[in-house]
Amino acid sequence: MDWFFLIEKILLISVILVLSLVVAMYATWGERKVAAWIQDRLGPNRAGPMGLLQPLADGGKLFFKEEIIPTSANRFMFVLGPSIAMVVACMTSAVIPWGGTLTIAGREVSLQVADVNIGILYIFAVVSMGVYGIMIGGWASNNKYSLLASVRAASQIISYELPMGLALIALLMTTGTLSLKTIVEQQINSGVYNAFIQPLGFLIFLICAFAECNRAPFDLPEAENELNGGYHLEYSSMKLGFFLFAEYINMFISSALMATLYWGGYGFPGMTSLASSLSPNLITIIGFLALFIKTLIFIFIFMWVRWTVPRFRYDQLMRLGWRVLIPLSLANMLITGAIELFRHHS
């Protein structure tokens, strides 16, 4: 057993978890700021400079809130629901390559928690677990609104998983691997981001990512005005916090994933040419920053869309998922396949 390896991984995991939480927290702040900006308001500005301490205040509030579990709820399930949601949200980041390798004291430290060859499948597997959190939470509350919302959420999430998977298949056809690291390296080496090869695929993936994260315009599960707040209606204190956090973490991770899959991950323009002049560690750090910036851009897009596009009706949502995106992604896959074959066999 390599103890350094363990320590290094534990450190990396801690950093990533903390980073996710911080990003998630500040995403709430960002959300409000962006909303304010779009709506020509000021947004939070009391707690700290530019309201920067606002998320901390919010978090603290959640910690000290009273914990209410309705008598008719199933206590175990009631606690289990948000826990699953949170754990799942924390687990997705494990296979995302946050950067190249750092050389510290002669050791090569990869900025990826686990480089497994089935990275994409892993993400799919873990993300699909997320629906359990919502479903269990809604069901355990024993509240008609919660139950309905959770059923809706589950239907929505599974419906959009199909086109998402199909869109990814088209990507896999061009890359030929399930390992995220390899996908990123391919993009860096060729210098062409997958988004240009797979524009339609990227678009579909983007839409699906919105739906998967229950973000507007697909935020029906928590449609306040219809469902009293959705599946987490009965929740309070940190259990509510977990549901909210999980949503923002998911948003962060899916942004990172989109950046990784379609926009070159930690690669940045000129990376290969700079490799000779700069030290590798520096390149890695720049790469990490590049990925972070790309991710932030996507998070911004998430917010931008939220305050721009009105919410779908449920039938519209389902129609878009099943009748538009699935055929579209299938067509995308077949066209990709045909073109790739034509390129390689002529």
């Binding site: 363990l6 991984k9 534990i10 995991i13 910690f63 000290f64 809130k65 009273e66 914990e67 579990i69 008598t71 008719s72 709820a73 606690v79 949170m86 754990v87 924390c90 687990m91 980041s93 494990a94 686990a114 480089d115 497994v116 060859n117 089935i118 069901w139 509350s141 024993n142 509240n143 008609k144 609104y145 239907s155 599974i158 419906s159 998983e161 199909l162 998977g165 199909l166 298949i169 088209a170 896999l172 056809m173 030929g176 691997t177 009293n228 940190m238 977990f242 449920y314 039938d315 389902m318 099943w322 009748r323 699935i326 299938l330 896959m333 077949l334 396949g337 790739e340 390689h344 066999h345």
Partner: protein
């Protein structure tokens, strides 16, 4: 039939998954500790009114765990079916180049059947949410 595929070839060992286990432990620890912490930190002033379900002030009637509309159920079942069909594409996509045009035509056929099923459920109105 038995081409030597690279599908799930053994470049990773069970050892590669160790960090994931670590991350799981970390996540579980975080969640557990936070849960416990809020449990002890928060005030506890429970009243019977507070502990009933909130249904917008309307008196609660019956159990909420009623069967929901069959539509949701149908969606779930269709997802299960189509999802495994999608799963079939993964090994194909990874070995896409090795399998060449022949494999592509086979997959075209598969997609054909997939579409048949898809069109069938559309026509049957399984995905009609409008009514």
């Amino acid at each position: 039939m038995y081409t030597e595929t690279v599908f799930l070839s053994a470049t990773t060992t069970p050892f590669s998954y160790l960090p994931i286990v670590l991350q799981l432990i970390a996540a579980l620890g975080f969640v557990g500790i936070t849960m416990l912490a809020t449990h002890f930190l928060g005030p506890k002033r429970k009243t019977s009114d507070k502990l009933i379900n909130f249904e917008s002030g309307i008196e609660q009637k019956g159990n909420a765990r009623q069967p929901v509309a069959i539509k949701y159920f149908l969606t779930a079942i269709l997802f299960v079916l189509f999802d495994v069909e999608v799963i079939f594409f993964y090994p194909y996509a990874v070995n896409f180049r090795e399998l060449g045009p022949e494999g592509f035509f086979a997959v075209l056929m598969f997609v054909g059947f997939f579409l048949c099923g898809f069109i069938y459920i559309l026509k049957k109105g399984a995905l009609k949410w409008e009514d």
